[in-house]
């Protein structure tokens, strides 16, 4: 099987986000970049499918800044075979990213049997790219999957919806599947894996190479700002057992009379 995994490189979850000078994005100069956590599940799932289907290849594709290639190197260190990097600004919108991914996949010498991606990037949190890509490529899609079973050309996947209920889908390959936490446990890259990844092929393309221009942008952001800080709240010491009943009664009372949420 030809398996493609779309990955994004995002600021580490512990990043303290600061808007940049003109408010057009965040300050990225000192950011530690990581593979989008939801994409790790997609890479892992691709490697599991590869192991179960002899002769498969896993190609990771990313659209974004080229200064740091951490996400693609990590995916290859985990076991992906090759990578395609499409150079773009880090705050491209979902429509442009999906179109670039489509262009890159179609430009490769492989016809996709399975396209995997994380359900959302933890940077812009849009939850769009996998479905937009599927629509652009005229493929079926199932997003937010927490279960995967393959039976020849049919895959049965579980999609998580509100309240933890699951929709069970049956879909034929080729298709686009977007992974959620819970589907598998991503492996760590081994030291030999990391060494090997350095020699694996990484093709670099421009947005023009994959047919994307500034006209493809559909969503434009401005005025990035930090959310308003809350005024400091009230703090009660209840380490002493004798204080506990009094403190809790007072807090519950305040929730009712002051905060009016009960």
């Amino acid at each position: 099987m030809n398996i493609f995994v779309c990955v994004k490189q995002v600021p580490d979850t512990e990043t303290k986000v600061q808007p940049n000078g003109d408010g057009s994005f965040i300050e990225t100069s000192s950011i530690k970049w990581i593979m989008n956590p939801y994409d790790e599940f997609a890479v892992e799932q691709a490697l599991l499918v590869k192991a179960a289907n002899a002769g498969s290849t896993v190609t990771v594709v990313r659209v974004g800044g080229v200064k740091d290639t951490e996400a693609l190197r990590t995916a290859m260190a985990m076991g992906a075979d090759e990578a395609i990097l499409v150079e773009a600004e880090d705050n491209l919108d979902s429509y442009s990213i999906a179109k670039a991914l489509k262009g890159a996949i179609e430009k490769s010498d492989k016809t996709p049997d399975l396209i995997l991606a994380g359900k959302q990037g933890i940077d812009d949190d849009c939850l769009q790219v996998p479905q937009v890509l599927a629509e652009m490529m005229n493929l079926p899609s199932v997003a937010v999957i927490v279960g995967f079973e393959q039976n020849g050309e049919t895959v049965t996947v579980k999609r998580e919806i509100e309240g933890g209920a699951l929709e069970v889908y049956e879909v034929k390959t080729p298709c686009v599947l977007a992974t959620n936490k819970g589907i598998n446990t991503p492996r760590y890259a081994s030291l030999p894996g990391i060494m090997k990844a350095k020699r694996k092929p990484m093709q670099q393309l421009t947005l023009a190479d994959v047919g994307v221009s500034a006209d493809d942008r559909r969503v434009k952001y401005s005025d990035f700002q930090l959310p308003p800080e809350k005024p400091p709240g009230k703090k009660f010491d209840a380490m002493d057992e004798a204080e506990q009943q009094k403190v809790v009664s007072e807090v519950v009372g305040l929730l009712r009379t002051e905060a009016k949420v009960l």
Binding site: P11, T13, K16, V17, I26, S94, A98, D125, C126, L127, Q128, Q131, V132, E135, P140, S141, V142, A143, V144, V146, K158, E162, G163, G164, L166, E167, V168, Y169, E170, V171, C175, N180, K181, G182, V219, K220, S222, F224, Q225, L226, P227, K230, P232, G233, K234, K235, F236, D237, A238, M239, Q244, Q245, V248, V251, V252, L254, L255, A259, V261, L262
Partner: protein, 319 residues
């Protein structure tokens, strides 16, 4: 004035509350509502009270169950026959899955998960959180119309005195087209609880819960006030709680009226996911835990002592 279509889902026959929030905010625009399947007269009346002009019930084969392709094909056909400038929907599981496909059929843009919006003339200006709420940005759409947006439940709030609309109900026949990814079965959740993203009250446990059994004390408190139980990443990764309970940047972003954090220290990525909660209560033994910087009411104490007392106190309030 913009011509807006609001897509709504139903839950046990009732339109989702987020639809009414959106309708209230759209007062002043020309607003229709579309639903796939049936809708009772009482619900049409509710939509009218909040400003719906026409209420379109879209009917066709293979639409009894949701499918990304069937629903987006059906809506694509219906929307193409009208002249809508915007299509809005609540940011529910279904809309978040389906609207990207639908918008792409129009080669149009979609602003996901907006927490506020205004219309200047007939142009939509949205506000949405990025980085799980670590920052906010203004969002504008360009390219072919209609433009699409999903709105986060509980963010706009219910309108106090909405302007009523005509609420003229009609049926339209739509085509689901080819469905390659179809639902075979739905596995109901073990709990009947409201989803974290829609919950009015959330009680979350962190690493200090020590094991999954101890979560029962949170479930007991949740039972009293009709809350949904959540968890921190540390608790999920330690196996104390299921992944779908995780609140934070790599879990769910929530904004309930009341968030009670029990034994959660408050990593940046957790705070990002719950900071927009209206009122936050934190219970933690460490007086310097970062969670206290976001808490309206902080209790420095042992959660295993505090939670049972709080459950009893809440019982008194509820009774």
């Amino acid at each position: 004035m913009a011509n807006v279509l609001v897509f709504t889902e139903t839950n046990n026959g009732n339109v989702k509350p987020v639809t009414l929030e959106i309708l209230g905010k759209l007062n002043g625009q020309t607003v229709d509502v579309a639903v796939i399947g049936d809708l009772g007269d009482d619900q049409v009346k509710v939509l009218a009270e909040y400003g719906a002009g026409k209420v379109h019930k879209l009917k066709g084969d293979n639409l009894d169950k949701y499918s990304p392709e069937g629903y987006s094909n059906a809506l694509h056909g219906f929307i193409s026959s009208g002249s809508y400038d915007y299509v809005l929907a609540g940011a529910t599981s279904m809309a978040k899955d389906m609207l990207p496909r639908l918008a792409t059929k129009f080669e149009a843009g979609l602003a996901s998960d907006c927490v506020n919006f205004i219309f200047e003339g007939d142009t939509f200006h949205g506000t949405r959180p990025l980085f799980a709420g670590k920052c906010l940005a203004k969002v504008e759409l360009s390219g072919p119309k209609p433009h699409f947006a999903t709105i986060r439940p509980n963010a706009l709030g219910m309108p106090e005195s909405p302007t009523a609309g005509a609420g003229e109900a009609s049926e339209a026949s739509v085509n689901a087209g080819e469905i390659r990814a179809a639902i075979k079965e739905i596995i109901a959740s073990a709990s009947e609880k409201v989803d974290l993203t829609e919950a009015n009250i959330i009680i979350s446990g962190g690493r200090a819960m020590k094991n999954s059994e101890n979560f029962s004390i949170l479930h007991e408190m949740a039972e009293v006030v009709g809350a949904t139980v959540g968890a921190s990443r540390a608790a999920v990764d330690s196996g104390y709680a299921a992944p779908d309970m995780q609140v934070g940047q790599t879990g769910k972003t929530v904004s309930p009226s009341l968030y009670i954090a029990c034994g959660i220290s408050g990593a940046i990525q957790h705070l990002a996911g719950m900071r927009t909660s209206k009122v936050i209560v934190a219970i933690n033994t460490d007086p310097d835990a970062p969670i206290f910087t976001k808490a309206d009411y902080g209790i420095v104490g042992d959660l295993f002592k505090i939670v049972p007392i709080m459950t009893e106190e809440l019982k008194k309030v509820v009774d």
